[in-house]
Amino acid sequence: MITPSPDQLVESNASVLAKFGYQPFGGEDEDWGGMWKLLQGDFTTQQRPRVLDFEDLTLSQQEAAKVYMRRRLIADRLFEECRKAQADLFKGIDTERVERYSIAREAYEDSVEDFGKAREKLDSMLPRIEN
């Protein structure tokens, strides 16, 4: 659920965006702690053999971890679009279908790059063992 800002200007920004289709997210929040358990292996380098549970991260680390996990969720959706376009090529290869696949694929690739950048950002915020 969205927590409204006490600052009315921020809220009015939301209403302008709403003119173009913005809707406040009304569903359940993700299970960030559960997802973090599956993904924290990305950070357990030699100089950081253990990573804290999501709940034990600082507020800013949690925010960076959520960005990293959201990037992954976006990549998952774009991966599905790419798979759909790939399956469509089995109906017959032609320029239109090849270009459709290319666009879906590039979007998926960009999302994986974004996931990687978010990982790097979070990585820079997590403590390491000093040599």
Partner: protein
Amino acid sequence: MKWKTYDKGDVLPEDYKKALLNLMSFQGDSEYAGAQRVAENHRFAPRPEEAYRLSKKVMEEMGHAYYVWNLMQDLGVDVNIRLQELARNPTNPDPKKVNIINGFRKENWSPFFECWEDVALFSTVVTPAAVAFLGQYRECSYLPWARTNVRVHKEEHGHLAFGVWASKRCIEFGGEKTREFMQERIPKFMKMGLGFYGRPSAGQTKSQMFDIYYEYGIKVKKPEELQAEYMELLESRLGDIGFEVPQGVEADYDMRMGYEAAESGATIETA
């Protein structure tokens, strides 16, 4: 040296078309089969980002196949049967239907891969050979294929970056012991990389088909030139990671991208 060039819609001399389609089919079919092999290696991915980056690579290699097949279709080839064959028989496609380089046949590929470090090293050590080899097609005499390979070449460069990234990550997670483990495994991939271009363009063991391709401007660089390009790329990549370039490694020509019409088994029927 300048060659007569052809663009989309031009009438191609029959012998030229036959040679061109042979090389194009090797590229298209092998890109797809290569993507399938990379997909099989997905099981080795040790961490989330590695898994996502490899899945991206699979999709990209498949995309290269579609580009090339689409061009072959313009030349009257039914390419859908090639996709169907590879999808139905990924581990043993019929050599009468598709042209796969030896290295991308499952029985040849699989023994090279035992762990994620091998996956990282393949992209570091063998991919520079593909970058150099396929790079020559950007200047080939069939202009639609040349343009497509400009696109492919740019993306293959991304795969080089993947290899370096993945190798560095292996070391970041595994330390010096992993670096030594990987250093010992470089020669097996380097043999493949060195043999990628086929045998030298002169001498008793020279490729029978090379002169024909070269005369037509379909291949525009000699194996020796490509090998020099490969070594330059390889040395810079290995140095970037902190590996040494192994000395005295001999090329394995049996794993090469054959790309020779005489050895092509697949029939390429055109309308």
